[in-house]
Symmetry: C2
């Protein structure tokens, strides 16, 4: 059972793995983002990772599980900012940081101009698999966190007392998701930042 052995067992039995599991996951993530879930074949994966078919199955289970693991990494990496921003001083700063970081991520040259989570949440390819429900649930959780932060802002007098914190949250996340689509469709960084500015101009809080 060895419950304590989860951290770095110095020596592992058997032939050592030829590749780095974490780097492979990152590479797989890139492929999935560029081509989408269904359109990505396992051959695409093995070529991108430079390893053989059975190694993928041995390391990650199957295609669906591989995707789920890549997505999990995405949530903890690229889009971790969605939780970080909650600690900003005012509701306005929360929203500003959230949208600015989002634009930054969407327009940085190395990555495809898309958000894997948002894209996957509407991809009908994933509807059959159980993955999509997790994604949607994750996005919902993010909304709940923002809503709580806005409630705090109301309590602090940052936002008006009669603010509907949930609807305001939905409004912000609607723009957030919209930005992701606009970026995919080729809207420039300048334009995206301009959209954020317009959003902030009419922000009800400080």
């Amino acid at each position: 059972m060895q419950a304590m052995k989860t951290v770095a067992p110095t020596k592992t039995l058997g032939r050592p793995r030829k590749f780095d599991k974490d780097l492979a996951l990152d590479a797989a993530l890139q492929v999935f983002m560029q081509k989408g879930y269904e359109a990505t074949s396992l051959t695409d994966i093995t070529e991108a990772l430079g390893i053989n078919r059975p190694s993928v199955y041995a390391a990650f289970g199957n295609k669906e599980e591989l995707f789920a693991q890549a997505l999990a990494k995405y949530n903890q990496g690229p889009i971790a900012y969605l939780n970080d921003v909650l600690s900003e001083r005012t509701s306005r700063d929360v929203v500003k940081e959230m949208l600015m970081k989002s634009v930054e991520l969407l327009t940085c040259a190395e990555q495809p101009r898309a958000c894997l989570a948002i894209q996957s949440s509407i991809s009908s390819e994933l509807a059959a698999a159980g993955i999509q429900q997790n994604i949607v649930a994750g996005l919902h959780q993010i909304e709940m966190n923002i809503k709580n932060r806005f409630d705090q802002a109301i309590a602090e007098g940052d936002l008006p007392k009669d603010t509907d914190s949930w609807l305001l949250t939905k409004y912000v996340t609607t723009i957030h998701k919209g930005l992701s689509i606009q970026a995919s469709n080729g809207t420039s960084a300048e334009e995206l930042y301009g959209i954020v500015e317009i959003t902030l101009k009419s922000w009800p809080g400080k």
Copy 2:
């Protein structure tokens, strides 16, 4: 050459088609919206349409062309409102109608809660095919139309003189696209209407 004969030749040669091409396109549209482009097999199509495989190819070319034709029909049908709303009296009414009609369409029970055009514009499945460029170009055209309408509003004194009509357009279409994702993810009609209301509350024009 018979250039004038494009309209309803009363008698057609050969064995008559067993099905209605227009109705078949509508049915295909439904399937594509529910399952996505790649995930929809030709067998799905033939079953939904109640016709045989070669009939599909004879009538529509191939899968890609079938999709393109279904999409064209979608543009002229369900989302024609995007052009209609331009004739509203004020910029505010234009935006209000646009977003309200959008929510209406996204939440009507008969249709899947998604916009085929928006979904297809980011679907990496279609990136290879030439279709996606058309879709993105179509969405861009819609934005140009709105921008022109806002310019008119500025000239009429409806919107402030210093308004950046293009960025304001991008802001509105960002929300429009965001609504489509939110609807897909299960946001209720009430919530969606609430988001529209918040957007209108801070509208710079009358």
